[in-house]
C-alpha cells in the first residue's frame, strides 16, 4: 500500500495501463504539455509521446467523436472532459453513438472507451463549472458510470474502465483530487458494478457516492456521538447499480437516506429511492429521504453555494430527520 492523493492514484493508473497496453491513449484539453488542469495526466506525454497523448482544441463534440472513432478502430482511448458541465456538448456522441454501438451491431462491435470528467461544487467555480450531472449519464443504457470516492477506488476503477470493452463514464470530483488514501500495489482492479459498505452501522443506511461518501462518513461520526450508528454504502458504480448491497444494508438498518450531489428533482437520488422501495419495502421503518442539491443553478457566492449543496452537516441533519420520519 502506498499513501497518495486521488489525482496521483489516477495518474499512476494511467501510467500503468499505457505501459501495459499500447492501444491505450489519452485525449483531451491540456492533457499533454500541461499535464491536465488537475494534473491527472502529468508525465504521460513525456513518457508515451504526443501520438498517444493528444492535446485537443476546445471542442468537446469533436474530441468525443475522435475518441469514439479511435475506439471503433481498435484503440482504447481515455478522453478527458475538463468539466462535467461541458459533457452536454458530448451527449450526442455519447448517447447516440457510443452507448449503442455494441447493441446495434449485435455485439459484433465493441467500444472500449473511457470518458473521464470531473464535477461537483465547493470551489466557488460558479454555475458553469460546478454541476453534478450523474443522472444524465446514468440514465443511458449502454453506458457504465463510475464515481469513486477514494484514491484506491479511483485507481482500481480506472484500470477496470480502461480494460472494459465498452464505454465507461468516469466521474471524478474537483474536491477529491487532493484527498489522500492508501492505494494497493500491483495489479489493483476494482470491479465495475460493486458497491461497498464504507462504514458499518445498524440504525440508518446512508447511500452515497463520490465526494458525498466522504461527507456521509463525516456525518456518521457526528451521528455516532449522538448514539446513532449509521451505515454508509459507497456505491462506487452508479450504473450498473449494485442493488443487492443497498438492499442488504437497508434490510439491516430499516432506514435509508440517499445522497447525491446532483439536483434533487429527477436526480440519481430518486433512482436510489425507487430501488430501495422496490427491493426493501417491507424492511422500511419510515420513508426513504433524499438529499441533493437545491433545484437551482449553483451560486457563485460561497455561502450560497454551501447552502445549496449537500455537505456533512446537511447529511447529519437529513439523517436525524430520516430517523424521526
Amino acid at each position: 500500500m502506498t499513501r497518495m492523493r486521488y489525482a496521483e492514484a489516477l495518474n499512476r493508473a494511467l501510467h500503468e495501463e499505457m505501459a501495459r497496453d499500447e492501444r491505450v491513449c489519452v485525449i483531451g484539453e491540456d492533457v499533454g504539455i500541461y499535464g491536465g488542469v488537475f494534473k491527472v495526466t502529468k508525465g504521460l506525454r513525456e513518457r508515451f509521446g504526443d501520438l498517444r497523448v493528444r492535446d485537443t482544441p476546445i471542442s468537446e463534440q469533436a474530441m468525443t467523436g475522435l475518441a469514439i472513432g479511435a475506439a471503433m478502430v481498435g484503440r482504447r482511448p481515455v478522453l478527458e472532459i475538463m468539466y462535467i458541465d461541458f459533457l452536454t456538448l458530448c451527449l450526442d456522441q455519447l448517447v447516440n453513438q457510443a452507448s449503442i454501438v455494441h447493441y446495434i451491431w449485435a455485439g459484433q462491435a465493441s467500444l472500449p472507451f473511457v470518458l473521464r470528467t470531473q464535477g461537483g461544487a465547493g470551489a466557488g467555480a460558479a454555475a458553469q463549472h460546478s454541476k453534478s450531472l450523474d443522472a444524465l449519464v446514468a440514465h443511458v443504457p449502454g453506458l457504465k458510470v463510475v464515481a469513486p470516492a477514494t484514491p484506491a477506488d479511483a485507481s482500481g476503477l480506472l484500470v477496470a474502465a480502461i480494460r472494459d470493452p465498452n464505454p465507461v463514464v468516469f466521474l471524478e470530483h474537483k474536491l477529491l483530487y487532493n484527498t489522500t488514501g492508501e492505494v494497493p500495489e500491483g495489479d489493483h482492479v476494482v470491479p465495475i458494478g460493486q458497491a461497498h459498505v464504507a462504514r458499518e452501522g445498524t440504525d440508518i443506511t446512508i447511500v452515497a457516492s463520490s465526494k458525498m461518501t466522504l461527507d456521509a462518513l463525516a456525518a456518521a461520526e457526528t451521528l455516532a456521538a449522538e448514539g446513532i450508528d449509521a451505515e454508509v454504502v459507497d456505491l462506487r458504480t452508479l450504473r450498473p447499480l449494485d442493488r443487492e448491497t443497498i438492499a442488504r444494508s437497508v434490510r439491516k438498518t430499516n432506514r435509508a437516506l440517499v445522497v447525491n450531489e446532483g439536483w434533487t428533482t429527477g436526480g440519481f437520488g430518486a433512482e436510489l429511492s425507487a430501488v430501495i422501495m422496490e427491493d426493501a419495502f417491507d424492511w422500511l421503518d419510515g420513508p426513504v429521504r433524499r438529499l441533493g442539491t437545491a433545484d437551482r443553478p449553483i451560486p457563485y457566492s460561497l455561502p450560497l453555494e454551501q447552502a445549496a449543496v449537500p455537505d456533512a452537516a446537511a447529511i447529519t441533519r437529513a439523517a436525524r430527520l430520516t430517523l424521526a420520519g
Binding site: 424492511w283 422500511l284 421503518d285 420520519g325
Partner: protein, 407 residues
C-alpha cells in the same frame, strides 16, 4: 350521566381440570377503574398444570380487586368485581366459565374462558386503520402480533419497528412471569390431594407378559422411515386403537357414575423438573404414529418449560405411564380420577422361551393395568390387556394394531 351501576363478580373457574382446586394469582392485567370489554383478559392465573388468563364476559369497569397477585385462591373464589350499567343484561358472573359447567361426553375440556397465553390479534374496526411502517408490519407478522393494535410512537402515530419489538418483549416477559412454576410445595400439595382422592377409589391391577419383539422391530422400521417416534409413542399408538374398540376402558367414573367417552384422549405421564405432568394426546385413535410422536414431543417440551395450556392437560380418558427408561421390571400405577384405568409400561426383559421346541431369547414386558373397580371389572381389564398384547405383538407402524380381535 351513566345509569346506576351494579357489580358482578369475577369468579375463578376450574380452568385446570380435575386436578385444579385452587390457582395462584400471577398478575393482574387491569387496575381498579379500568374499563374492560367482554373477552378482555383480566388476570393471569397459574394452576398446578397450566397458565391461563381469566377474561371478562361482560363490558364494565373494574370496581374492586379482591385478591392480590401472589395469593392462592380456591375455585369459586371471587377475584374481582366489575361494575356494569344497570340497563345492560347481567349474567350471573362476570368471570369466565362457571365451575359447575356440565362435562361433555365428547371429552372436550370445560375450559371456556381460559386460554393459553398466546399473542392474540386485537380486534379493531377497519375504519380505524392505523399507520404501520412496512418494517413493523413485516416484523409483526413474523411475531404473530397485530401491529395495527399497538400504540405507534412514530409521526402521526405510525407504528414503528421499535413498537412491535417492544410489544414482543413485553409479551415474552409476561410469558416468563406467568411461566414461573408454582412452588413445588403447592404442586406437591395439589398432587397429594389428587392422589388421596385416587386412593379412595377401589383399585385393582391385572398384569400380562407381552412379547416386545415386534415393537423392537418396529423401532428399526421407524428409524428407516426417519420418523422420530419413541417406543412409548408406539405404545400410545397401539393403546389408542385398542381403546377405540374397548369403550368400557375409555371412561370416566365420577361419584360412582360411569360415563363412556367417545373421544380417545390418552394421557402421557411425563416427569418434569417441577414434578409429574400428564399432558394429553387428544383424539389419539385418529392420529398416525408420526402425528402422535409430534404431539408428544410438543407436549414434552411444553411440560418441561411450564408452557402447558389447559387444553394440553384436560380431558384424558386413559393414561399411559412408562418407566421403561429406568429399567423397571414391573410396577403398578395409580388411577387418576375420573379416569377408569391406567397402563404401566416397564422395561422389557430378555427371557428364555420355547419356540417349536427350540430355546429362544425374547424381550418380554410385563404390562400392568390398574383400574377403578367401580368402572370396570377384572374380566374387562383382562380382555383389554389381551387385545393390547395382540396389538403390540403384531405391531406395525402403519396400522398400530390389527383390526381383527380374538374375542
Amino acid at each position: 350521566m351513566s345509569a346506576p351501576a351494579q357489580t358482578v363478580p369475577v369468579v375463578l373457574a376450574a380452568l385446570g381440570g380435575e386436578y385444579m382446586e385452587s390457582a395462584l394469582i400471577v398478575r393482574w392485567l387491569v387496575a381498579i377503574g379500568d374499563r374492560v370489554s367482554a373477552g378482555a383478559p383480566l388476570v393471569v392465573v397459574e394452576t398446578a398444570k397450566a397458565s391461563a388468563e381469566v377474561e371478562a364476559t361482560v363490558d364494565g369497569v373494574v370496581a374492586a380487586i379482591r385478591v392480590e397477585a401472589g395469593a392462592e385462591v380456591e375455585v369459586g373464589a371471587v377475584l374481582a368485581e366489575l361494575a356494569v350499567e344497570a340497563a345492560m343484561p347481567v349474567p350471573s358472573t362476570a368471570g369466565s366459565a362457571s365451575s359447575d359447567r356440565p362435562r361433555e361426553s365428547t371429552g372436550a375440556p370445560a375450559a371456556a374462558g381460559a386460554r393459553p397465553l398466546e399473542p392474540r390479534p386485537a380486534e379493531h374496526p377497519a375504519a380505524e386503520r392505523r399507520r404501520v411502517s412496512p418494517a413493523a408490519r413485516r416484523r409483526a407478522r413474523e411475531l404473530g402480533i397485530d401491529a395495527g393494535g399497538l400504540a405507534g410512537s412514530g409521526p402521526l402515530g405510525r407504528v414503528l419497528l421499535r413498537d412491535v419489538e417492544s410489544a414482543a418483549r413485553e409479551a415474552m416477559a409476561a410469558r416468563r412471569r406467568s411461566r414461573v412454576a408454582p412452588p413445588p410445595a403447592d404442586y406437591r400439595r395439589a398432587m397429594a390431594t389428587h392422589m388421596a382422592r385416587a386412593a379412595a377409589a377401589p383399585q385393582f391391577s391385572v398384569s400380562m407378559d407381552v412379547d416386545w419383539s415386534a415393537l423392537e422391530r418396529a423401532r428399526e422400521a421407524v428409524r428407516a422411515l426417519d420418523v422420530a417416534a419413541s417406543p412409548n409413542d408406539m405404545v400410545v399408538h397401539a393403546v389408542s386403537r385398542v381403546l377405540a374398540r374397548s369403550p368400557e376402558m375409555n371412561a370416566w367414573c365420577r361419584d360412582g357414575v360411569v360415563e363412556r367417552v367417545a373421544a380417545v384422549n390418552v394421557g402421557v405421564a411425563i416427569a418434569t423438573p417441577g414434578g409429574l405432568a400428564v399432558p394429553v394426546v387428544r383424539g389419539a385413535d385418529r392420529l398416525g404414529l408420526a402425528a402422535i410422536a409430534a404431539e408428544t414431543a410438543r407436549l414434552g417440551r411444553a411440560a418441561r418449560t411450564g408452557d402447558l395450556a389447559p387444553d394440553d392437560v384436560l380431558g384424558a380418558t386413559f393414561t399411559v405411564s412408562n418407566l421403561a427408561p429406568y429399567g423397571v421390571s414391573e410396577f403398578r400405577a395409580v388411577v387418576s380420577p375420573p379416569q377408569a384405568a391406567i397402563l404401566a409400561v416397564p422395561a422389557a426383559t430378555d427371557v428364555l422361551a420355547l419356540d417349536g421346541g427350540r430355546v429362544v431369547v425374547r424381550p418380554v414386558t410385563r404390562l400392568t393395568v390398574t383400574a377403578d373397580h367401580r368402572a370396570v371389572d377384572g374380566a374387562q381389564v383382562a380382555r383389554f390387556l389381551r387385545r393390547l398384547r395382540r396389538a403390540l405383538e403384531r405391531y406395525g407402524v402403519d396400522s398400530g394394531a390389527p383390526e381383527n380381535s380374538e374375542d
